[in-house]
């Protein structure tokens, strides 16, 4: 090891080099692809523009038949298009790859879709009804499907096939079950579905990602890796050109798409922390970013940011669930007492900083069919709550000692839980302990039935805009939240089931409203708020039509209207 001459001069050289580096770097600007088309006038769409978005985090899978999280569905949504989609303003299902609304048979059991002529995949090959047949069948396939197969159970044969255990059943039996599934492409442009019972909500289901036309050849060729850009070919507005895992996703315009898209490229970064994302937005590394409640003050304090603030409608309701199988919540008085003892308006104002709406209309949120603002069963009323508590049976009241509130831990959830704990202590005099649990361990807790958590956090977001997706899917005996709470009410079940089948829209709405009020009164859960959001976007991004169902992609249902002006 040779000696070093004069440590100081070495250090000085290092400093000099460092400052050279710093000055050189500050000349360049970060990431954005600035190759705008020359000669584009101000205010005109820059057809070559790039939009910078935040994907939030690395999506676990972008396979449409397997996706379940918004950030997974969102990536697939750029690349694929289904039979139907939703209208950007009315949220009603409208034809997408289909040429027109489906033809429904008189008995309400057969749905026939006709495709548009001349549809293509991004590689130029033709899209036919057979592709849709493959995709929908894949959605029911017990070896391939994911969490959302259940929406297709209304189709004859799908549930039976999907519930088979491929290990215990022979391939012949599997094939036989598959053959019984009533999804058939009757010609190049026509596909037919047969349902188990009349279901007006089937039309929005055919807009969902579970029916997006992935190609059999791509899946076979790519195997486990078919979702990589080389084999991830779709019929949607963009194609996936690059996926640097944990870093970014890059999409480019699909010139074979049936509509003309007015910008060229989307780059999605993966930033987990909302405050870091906000900082990136200010640094022009993002064109659009969601604003969390904790960032709101910063945004409002900056006049430029404040002017870019936009409200985003939500599609979720959050609620506190009660385990009705054992004390204290086996007593409906105690349940209703808890439901009436926290101030939802204060919650939205103080904890959410005004983002969202208090749940003042039952289970279904504002903006969705079935929102019922005459449902006042759970209105905040601390005096009435206390009275209800007094009416409760002593055996159930005994269950109040040592009561725990269980929730999947995240920094937001923690804050909300602390607030709720405080409300119950102040308004009811009940001390509730907090019990945060890792999200991967959360669901497992509910398998214990009796021993499941007594008081826990829950939520539901719409898959499609229809009451069936709310009341029936979630609260029928055995439904998703019904299972967790142990709720089972014959009165509610009868009303909801009747409504599911009812074809007269007015009668249907009335039945669902009745069911909803019954639900709020039984209070297996206490509705807290309807989520909403805020976002900020750069002034050069224009033409976005927001919609609560848009998979977190603002303006998705009218993609062709979005454009970027030169900046």
């Amino acid at each position: 090891m040779t000696g070093r001459r004069g440590g100081i001069s070495f250090f000085v050289t290092l400093l000099a080099l460092a400052s050279l580096l710093v000055s050189a770097c500050s000349q360049q600007t970060p990431t954005a692809d600035q190759t705008a088309t020359p000669g584009v006038a101000q205010g005109q769409p820059d057809l070559n523009a790039e939009v910078l978005l935040n994907a939030g985090g690395e999506p676990d899978t972008i396979d449409p038949q397997k996706a379940s999280f918004v950030n997974e569905i969102a990536q697939a949504a750029f690349v694929f298009e289904g039979l139907m989609t939703f209208d950007a303003t009315t949220t009603k299902p409208v034809p997408a790859a289909a040429a027109k609304m489906p033809e429904v048979s008189a008995d309400g059991l057969k749905y026939k879709y006709t495709l548009r002529d001349g549809l293509k995949y991004s590689d130029g090959s033709r899209l036919t009804a057979k592709n849709f047949e493959y995709a929908f069948l894949r959605g029911c396939d017990p070896t391939q499907s994911g969490d959302y197969a259940f929406v297709l159970y209304i189709v004859v044969g799908c549930e039976a096939w999907n519930n088979m255990d491929p290990r215990k059943v022979s391939p012949a039996e599997l094939a036989a079950a598959k053959a019984k599934v009533a999804i058939k492409a009757t010609s190049d442009l026509e596909i037919e579905f047969t349902l188990t019972s009349p279901a007006p909500f089937f039309v929005p289901i055919t807009a969902l990602w579970i029916g997006w036309p992935v190609r059999e050849s791509d899946v076979k060729k790519g195997g486990d890796k078919w979702t990589e850009p080389a084999t991830y070919i779709g019929n949607g507005p963009f194609k996936l050109t690059e996926w640097k895992h944990n870093e970014k996703l890059v999409f480019e315009r699909n010139d074979n798409y049936r509509k003309k898209i007015q910008f060229r490229k989307i780059t999605k970064l993966m930033i987990n922390e909302s405050s870091v994302a906000l900082a990136a937005y200010r640094n022009n590394e993002l064109d659009l970013v969601g604003v969390a409640a904790t960032d709101l003050r910063t945004v409002n304090a900056d006049p430029e940011l404040k002017s870019q603030l936009i409200d985003v409608a939500g599609s979720c309701t959050t609620y506190y669930g009660f385990n009705v199988r054992r004390p204290p919540f086996d007593d409906p008085n105690i349940r209703l007492a808890f439901a009436k003892s926290f101030d939802r308006v204060a919650f939205v104002k103080d904890v959410q900083q005004g983002i969202g709406k208090p749940a003042d209309g039952g289970f279904i949120p504002l903006g969705f069919p079935g929102y019922d603002n005459t449902d006042k069963e759970q209105l905040y009323d601390p005096a009435a709550a206390k009275a209800l508590l007094d009416k409760a049976s002593p055996a159930s009241k005994a269950g109040l000692t040592g009561l725990k509130y269980t929730f999947a831990s995240s920094s937001n959830a923690k804050t909300r839980a602390e607030w709720a704990q405080n409300q119950w202590r102040t308004n009811l005099g009940v001390t509730v302990e907090l019990d945060p649990v890792q999200s991967t361990a959360y669901s497992a807790l509910f398998k214990k039935g009796q021993e499941a958590p007594q008081l826990f956090s829950l939520g539901w977001c719409a898959d499609f805009p229809d009451q069936q997706n709310w009341h029936s899917t979630v609260w029928l005996t055995g439904g998703l939240s019904a299972g967790r709470t142990g709720y089972s009410s014959k009165a509610f079940d009868d009303l909801a089931r009747q409504a599911d089948k009812e074809s007269d829209p007015a009668k249907r709405d009335a039945l669902y409203n009745q069911a909803g009020k019954q639900l709020s009164k039984d209070a297996p859960a206490a509705w807290v708020d309807y989520d909403a959001g805020k976002r900020i976007q750069k002034p050069w991004l224009k033409g976005i039509t927001d919609n609560p169902m848009d998979y977190g992609i603002p303006g998705y249902f009218a993609m062709e209207k979005i454009f970027v002006v030169k900046h």
């Binding site: 960032d295 910063t298 904890v351 907090l434 019990d435």
Partner: protein
């Protein structure tokens, strides 16, 4: 006949002879207290202890706290995200000196209560680490042979784990179990830090014992029939103590930082109990709005850690027998 200078010299000699002998420990203490930084550190630590103790004294019905408000109750209506009074921004509230967090709780009160967590987290796991590590190190170093080999291979395995990640795995795995809920998750954190930390101490002790084992005083003690336990406890340990003390002084801030990191990642203390790391975790999303919500707990952690580091440095310098006073 004596000259003036001779008298002075004689007087000086007498003084020298009259001065008491100082033991190693007294020597070290003297040097430590001459070290201004170390003294400052000790004062800070003492202050932190006092704050922690007086944060909440509850004996029967009697209750006293130097914190102005409760750390967990949310006032209604809440004054959320208030900034400290000295910033002069329009978002301040005269009731809250250091401002409030997102839910409207007083930051000063939370800081005070959180000091208890940090003090406890600093010392208790360190005590466990030392009890365990010193014992293992003594046994391994003293007996040698296959006991030594076995224990050393075992420590090799633990040593191979990256510290923080091991900590995270242990805490994340047991957080949801009954054990993980005791004392708001504090016991689990103690155990995790102890599991990760004892290895270094064991090795250090073993090294010390190995080098001390062959010294004359050990042979002398053995020759008068001292048992192994007595040898280890009364002879080897006191002499090995110096570097151990220094390590302990640095282990405390390490434990504090460990808890802060765990709470920052969201796998630490169970809310709503306040801890400095947890407050950083809560304040982080608000950083753009009110950086003080993050800076105040960060400053607390840094100051306490700094204090321990100065004390540790001071102890190391004080206990080094080769340094001239």
């Amino acid at each position: 006949m004596a000259t003036a200078s001779a008298t002075q010299r004689r007087a000086a000699e007498l003084n020298v002879l009259a001065r008491k002998q100082r033991s190693l420990w007294q020597d070290a203490a003297y040097r430590l207290f001459r070290n201004k930084a170390a003294v400052a550190g000790l004062i800070v630590i003492a202050a932190a202890f006092l704050v922690a103790i007086f944060a909440d004294i509850s004996v029967g019905d009697f209750h006293f706290s130097i914190a102005p408000y409760s750390p967990t109750l949310i006032p209604q209506p809440p004054a959320s995200q208030m900034e400290p009074l000295w910033t002069g921004s329009k978002y301040t509230d005269p009731r809250y000196l250091l401002g409030t967090d997102f839910l409207g709780r007083d930051i000063l009160s939370r800081l005070i209560y959180a000091s208890r967590i940090s003090m406890v987290v600093g010392f208790v796991p360190t005590a466990i680490v030392f009890a365990l590590g010193v014992t293992v190190g003594l046994v391994a170093g003293f007996f040698g042979g296959w006991i030594d080999q076995l224990l050393m291979r075992f420590t090799d395995v633990i040593y191979a784990f990256p510290d923080f990640l091991f900590l995270i795995i242990i805490v994340a795995s047991f957080r949801t179990s009954a054990f993980g809920k005791i004392m708001d998750g504090l016991l689990l954190i103690f155990v995790a830090i102890a599991i990760v930390g004892w290895v270094g101490v064991a090795r250090l002790t073993r090294g010390q014992v190995l080098s001390l084992k062959e010294r004359e005083f050990v042979e002398a003690a053995r020759s008068v029939g001292a048992t192994p336990v007595r040898l280890m406890w009364k002879h080897l340990l006191p002499n090995a103590l110096a570097p151990l003390i220094v390590t302990a002084a640095f282990a405390v801030p390490g434990a504090i930082l460990g808890e802060a990191t765990l709470s920052f990642l969201g796998v630490g203390i169970i809310p709503p109990t306040a801890s400095w790391g947890g407050m950083i975790n809560e304040g982080f999303p608000l950083f753009g709005t009110n950086p003080w919500a993050v800076l105040m707990p960060a400053l607390c952690i840094s100051i306490v850690m700094l204090a321990f580091t100065f004390v540790g440095d001071g102890l190391r310098d004080a206990l080094d027998p080769r340094m001239k006073t």
